[in-house]
Every structure is written in C-alpha cells, then in structure tokens.
C-alpha cells in the first residue's frame, strides 16, 4: 500500500475537523439504487471532509474495497457517490469503511437527492456569459464611436451601430428573459416589482436605438443596455446562489431525516426499511445507539433511554417491557424490540413538525431591505420617465403660453430622453447592493464554521435584541463530564472497564481518561455497571454497596477494585467554557438574555447561575417555548432562539432568527437560520456582529444608489445624457457597490472585540 503512513490516522489529515467517533448504526441498504450501467450506487453525506488529504483518503479507501468502480467526493457539498459491482459488497461495508477512516457518513434517500445539479443556476450563468460577451464586444465598436466623435463619418458610425445591433438584439433578448418573465408574473397580478422598469428599459432602449440607427442618428445605447444586463445578472446570480445554498441545506437535512430502521419480519429475519415505510404493528429492532424513528412500546429487552432531545433532561431514563417510547429518543445500553404504535407521520414528531410549520409561516412575512427599496423605487422611476416625456413634448408649448421663447421638439427627442431616464436609473447598483454584501458576509462566517442558510437570515439576525437560550446541548455540552478529582491510575483502571459501555457516564469517563485499551474480560451487567474479575464500575448498589450515600444529587459512578476503598466519580453536564463570556458579549451589544429549558429546576438554576443569566424558566414544554417567543414578539422585540433539541425546533422556527449548534438534531438545524460548529458559543457573537456590519453595508449601498440616481436622473431628464456617460455611470456605480461589500471581508479586526 502506498499510503501506509496514512492508514493509522483517523479523520482529516490536516486536523481541520475532528474525527468522528460514532459508528453509524443505520443500515443504508434501503437507499441503494441500480444505475444505468447496472452498478449499485449509494449517495452519502460525509461529515468532516475538509481538505485534499480527505479526498484522497476517502476516494482511495473506498476504491480499495473489492468491486468498487467509482467513488467521487464533492468537497463543496460533502456528498459522496459510490458505485460498485452488484453483489461484490454490502452497502454497510461502505459506511463501515468510512467509519474506519474516521469520517461520519449518513445515507441519502435518493428520492430527496435527485435534483443535485442546480439547473436554474446554470441557466443564469449561461445568460450571464452571453450578456458579458455582448457587452465586451459592443464596447469594442462603441469606443471608436465615442473617441472618433467629429472625425468619424456618419456612414462608418452607422455601420458600427448596425454591427452592435446585430450582437445586442439577440443577446439582450436572450439574457433579459428572467427579467421579462418575472415582470410579466408581477404585472399579471397587477403588481410592479423591480423587473418591470428593467424590462421596460430593455425593450424601449432596443427599439429606440434601432430607430436611431436606421435614421443614422448619433446615439445608440446598445452598449449600455448589454452592460446593464451583465451587471444585473451578476446580482441575480449571486442572489440565486445564496437562496440555492439555503434550499440545498434544507433539502440535505430532509434527506438525512429519512433514516432507516431494522424491521423484524415474521420469520425472524431483520430487514432495513426506510422510516416512512414503517407501519403500525411492525416490530423494530433498536440496537444500542439507535434513535427510535417512530412511537412505540418496548416489547422485549431492558435498556436505558436518552430523552434529552425531547425534554432537555440529561439523565438517562430506564425502560423495560411495556415502556412507551417516543420517536426521537436514543437507546443507550441494550438492544430492544419495539412494537410500533404510530407511523412516522402520526408520531410525536409530527406534532412538532406542525408547530415548526406554523412558526415558519410567520417568518415568511419578513420583507427584505432590497425589496423595501424596490417598492419605493419603481413608482418614482416610472413617474420621472413619464414626466420627462411629457415635459419635453408639451413643455415648450407651456413656456410659450407663459410668454417665454421656446422651440418645439419632436416626439422622437422626447421619447429618447425618457428612455435615457429609464436607462440611467436602472437599478444596477440596487440589484447588486444586497446580494454582493450577503455573499461576502456568509463566506466570511463560513470560514469561522458558521453556516448561514439564507440572505434574509443575516438581515433578521442583525435586528435581534433578545437572545433566548436552551440549556441542554446549547448552553451546556449536552454530555456529562467528569467533575471530581481522581488520581490518574484509578481513572485509567476505571476507564478500562468503561470502554465496553455506551452509557453516557462511561463515555464521559473514557473521554476524561484519554485513549487506552479496554479491560480484557470486561462485560456489561445490564442496568448495573461493568465488571471485570474483581473490579466493578457502576451504580453504588452494584460497585460499592457499603459506601456511604452522598446525596448531592449529582450523576455518579462508583469504582471498586476489590483491594482499595471504592472511589466515587461525580459528573455534571457542564456549561460550555465560553458561555458566560458569550452571554456577557451579547449583553454588551444591548441584548437581553433568557434561559428556557425543559429540564428540572435545580439543574436549570445552576446552569443559569454559571452562565450569568438572571431570567430563566425550567420545565418548559415545546409549546411553552413558542408561547414565550410569541410574547416577546408581541412586546415588539426581535427574539433570537438558540437551541438544539427536537423540543426546541418549533421555537427555532417561531423566533425572529434562530441558531443551533452543529451537534443539534437535523430537524432543529433545518429550522434554524444559522448553524455553528465547534465547542464554543462565541461564533454566535461573531455571527451577530457580521450580520450587523452586513446590514450597515447594505444600507450604505442602497443610500449610495439613491444618491447616484438623484445626481444622474436630472441629467437624463435635461437631455444631457450621452451613451458614453451612461456606460461610465452604470459601471462605476456597480463597482463602488461591490467594493463597499468587499470591505466586510477585511474589516475583521474592528468587528470582534
């Protein structure tokens, strides 16, 4: 093997992303499809692939499996497509190989992943290319006309105009189609959007320029109109890419949600099925580490469940035969058989989904800054153009009636001037103002590990003035951590036992001890602990029955090696190390901070104290959380919700803006505007800062566009505009707006304090 050195290394070789340690237990075989060449293909979402080393490791590692013919990782989207000879290997081998390499992988439901290529984006790029091609080539004919003014004969000038027309007419009609279509859609419902003046300007400019060329006139605006379309399409494409990013993120999450389950058939065989195919009465096998996809009742087995995603409670709960299990809980220790009582769409999750939907409807009413500007802009521009036409046509007559000397102008000149107004005020800068800023801002946050799902999300985030936090998994890490001081030898000895268990307290012990080997003959005694020869680790009653009970209410494990007195390990779901700092930073930015959790009073109060939050609520249900957000909104506040659990998802959707950590459940990530990676919360502060800075840039850009129009429109109305000035003004205003947006990229030092 050429990369023997790499073989032992786990995860991203550049260390850009931590290696994933949870083995994906869902069987992806339900998502395998046969492709056109008769190969089995599987689409996977790979977590943690960040660099060229990852590409080589993943693709190389999979191609080394027998029968794999193709493995291609898309680093931008994190999607991996694997194709293999049917029968050569099972789908599970592919995910197992990825787990061995240290990457988390989850299968995609191909039904959700079909539209992988962004056709609309490609079409926009094509139109953008055509407009750019036309603009540049026409400029080649326009520059001689401008600079040869006076020396060039009308015959040469008209020839150059005709050649320009030859390029401009088909190019403009093709490139402007998105604007025509959108304008037509708006007009049909008797509304006017930004595309109405654009379409009008394109059509009128082309018509007037052709007429001018036909009568060998001086001015033709073929250069201006193609350049205008070029700039507008850049803005349109950037905007599209942002929206597409948001849509893809949402779709990816949806595709991931369709997890598989293992169904026990009547003959005892176990089959992998997609969760939407589960029916009431089915018997599902839930291995340790699996999440229950639907509601059900435990039929066989005895285990412990982690309900933190549903209730915010950190302590695992015991479950035996007859225990009701709700969708979303995680089975921790033993495999159990579940009898399904509700299909996926009727499960407890479905009620949450309904709440999420209601929340999102409220958010759809948000109007973006650029759209607000457009609503003001459209009527003004149309009246100005109409005023220009009427003014030039009847102005001289009116002046004469008042006793002034004035020469009549013909309708042609009046129309030409009116069109000049439409061209010069055309919203190039306005169209670029918001998308250019948002692309730069989301790009900058992305590098910090913050995924912003849409351009509006940034605008909404900039407005927030109340931050509402969830406790478990958001303010805290959501996992217990060893808090008692123990000597290193005891810790290592206890961890050797803990390594065979999936119980959260065992995992925390292993994490504290670091890497090492498991004790040889360690076995888990269900519901009690782990034993290996004379050594025991587990409940007090199991490991150290004689030890005195210390009732401080903390989560605990006892360890006895049969020689020395038993040792107690205490655990707590510790507040993230930078939580207090983050909350202070948010306060400094004028925000009120609240904590609302479904967990017990004592746990919430302790976390609130440690993080420095005065306003807190414990024992809140999902609807209590949405009610609190609704109350805040009624007060005229703009709440930011930060949460990770399934019980937070409705609140995340209902808040003005929402954020969830990368460890959150898919449903919560889908309902959030931003998702931040990493151990800390401080990324939140940076997101708020960048959002505020982005909003300031957008407002500056809009003001600049207005200023530009205030200067340029009177020039055009007075008939002083030439194609040269139009081209210069349009390109320079677009450049200034873009440069202003780029300032966000470099302004990092001033932002983060």
């Amino acid at each position: 093997m050429a990369h023997a050195a790499l073989a032992g290394e786990i995860g991203c070789p550049s260390g850009l992303s931590p290696a994933s340690d949870d083995a994906s237990s869902a069987d992806p075989s339900a998502f395998v499809r046969r492709d056109a060449q008769g190969r089995d293909t599987l689409e996977l979402m790979v977590q943690g692939a960040k660099c060229s080393g990852c590409i080589r490791k993943i693709e190389g590692g999979l191609l080394a499996l027998p029968g794999v013919g193709d493995a291609r990782l898309n680093l931008s989207t994190g999607r991996l497509r694997v194709a293999w000879r049917p029968g050569a290997l099972a789908a599970r081998d592919v995910t197992a190989a990825l787990t061995r390499l240290g990457y988390g992988a989850s299968a995609f439901d191909p039904a959700e992943a079909v539209r992988r290529i962004d056709e609309e984006g490609r079409a926009l790029l094509r139109r953008l290319a055509v407009a750019g091609f036309a603009a540049m080539n026409i400029m080649m004919f326009s520059v001689p006309v401008w600079s040869g003014d006076g020396e060039m004969g009308p015959a040469t000038r008209t020839l150059l105009h005709w050649i320009s027309a030859l390029v401009a007419i088909p190019a403009a009609l093709y490139a402007a189609q998105p604007f025509f279509r959108s304008a037509w859609r708006a007009l049909r419902v008797r509304r006017a959007n930004m595309d109405v003046p654009i379409s009008l300007a394109v059509v009128l400019t082309l018509a007037v320029s052709i007429a001018e060329t036909a009568r060998q006139g001086d001015h033709a605006y073929f250069d201006g109109i193609t350049m205008l379309l070029f700039f507008l399409l850049i803005g349109r494409y950037l905007d599209h890419r942002l929206r597409e990013q948001a849509r893809t993120a949402a779709r990816d999450l949806l595709a991931l949600q369709t997890v598989t389950a293992s169904r026990v058939e009547a003959d005892g065989r176990v089959n992998a099925v997609a969760s939407r195919d589960i029916k009431v009465g089915d018997r599902l096998l839930l291995a340790a580490g699996d999440r229950a996809p639907v509601d059900g009742v435990v039929e066989e087995g005895d285990s412990e469940f982690d309900c933190s995603m549903l209730t915010g409670e950190t302590l695992p709960q015991h479950a035996g035969v007859g225990t009701v299990v709700r969708a979303g809980v995680v089975n921790l220790t033993q495999r159990i058989v579940l009898c399904v009582t509700a299909a996926a769409r009727d499960s407890a999750i479905a009620e949450l989904a309904r709440l999420i939907e209601i929340g999102e409807q409220g958010r759809a009413r948000f109007v973006r800054l650029a759209d607000k500007a457009a609503a003001l802009y459209v009527p003004v521009v149309h009246s100005l153009a109409a005023l220009t036409f009427v003014g030039w046509l009847w102005g001289p007559m009116a002046l004469r009636a008042l006793g002034f000397e004035a020469m009549d102008v013909d309708a042609r000149v009046a129309l030409l001037n009116a069109v000049a107004v439409l061209i010069i005020t055309c919203p190039c800068a306005l169209g670029l103002a918001a998308p250019a800023v948002q692309v730069v801002a989301t790009g900058r946050l992305f590098k910090r590990g913050v995924l912003v799902k849409s351009g509006d999300a940034l605008e909404r985030l900039a407005q927030v003035n109340v931050a509402v936090f969830d406790k478990t998994g958001t303010l805290t890490r959501g996992k217990p951590r060893l808090v008692s001081a123990v000597d290193a030898d005891t810790l290592l000895a206890a961890a050797a036992l803990a390594r065979v268990s999936r119980h959260p307290l065992s995992r925390a012990l292993v994490e504290a001890a670091g890497p090492g080997a498991a004790a040889k003959d360690a076995r888990e005694v269900h519901g009690e602990g782990v034993e290996a020869g004379p050594m025991r680790l587990g409940r007090r009653s199991f490991a150290a029955p004689q030890a005195a009970d210390s009732d401080d209410g903390a989560m605990e494990l006892w360890f006895a090696d049969g020689v020395r007195p038993p040792v107690r390990f205490a655990f707590a779901d510790a507040v993230r190390s930078d939580a207090a700092q983050t909350i202070a930073a948010l306060r400094k930015r004028g925000m009120r901070v609240e904590l609302i959790s479904g967990d017990r009073r004592a746990a919430v109060a302790a976390a609130a104290r440690e993080a420095g939050i005065e306003d807190w609520v414990a024992g809140a249900s999902p609807s209590d959380k949405t009610a609190r957000l609704a109350a805040l909104r009624a007060e005229g506040k703009f709440p930011l919700m930060v949460g990770d659990g399934l019980n937070d998802a409705p609140a995340l959707a209902a808040a003005h803006a929402s954020a969830s950590p990368g460890t959150a459940l898919e449903a919560s990530q889908a309902a959030s505007d931003i998702v931040f990676q990493g151990e800390g919360l401080s990324a939140l502060v940076e997101a708020v800062d960048v959002a505020k800075a982005a909003r300031a840039r957008v407002v500056e850009n809009l003001l600049f566009s207005a200023l530009y129009n205030i200067v340029a429109a009177p020039l055009a109305m007075a008939g002083l505009l030439t194609p040269f000035i139009a081209a210069l003004a349009m390109s320079s205003s677009s450049l200034i707006v873009t440069l202003n947006a780029l300032r966000l990229q470099t302004g990092s030092k001033r932002l983060w304090t």
Binding site: S52, N74, S76, T77, M136, N137, V167
Partner: protein, 49 residues
C-alpha cells in the same frame, strides 16, 4: 477601412469561441465542485504497485 471587414468578424468569431468554451465547461459539470477542484490539484498521481 478594408481591414475592418476582416477584423470585425475575426474578433467576433474569437469571442464566440470563448463563449462556446464556457458553455461546454458549464455543461460538463466543471462548476459543480469548486472547492474540490482547488484541492484536487494537490493530490499526487497514484503510483500504487
């Protein structure tokens, strides 16, 4: 002046060639994974024996 008869079509033809090349690269999927393309150039040719 006569020269323009050749130069203008030649210029337009060259520009169209560029446009055609862009269209081809777009439909060939070269813009689908911009991050991956940037990293793939760092991967050495495989020389497994």
């Amino acid at each position: 002046m006569d020269l323009m008869v050749f130069l203008i079509p030649a210029a337009l033809f060259l520009a169209l060639l560029g446009l055609g090349a862009f269209f081809w690269s777009l439909s060939a999927g070269q813009y689908d994974d911009l991050d991956g393309a940037a990293h793939r150039i760092l991967i050495d040719e495989e020389d497994d024996a």
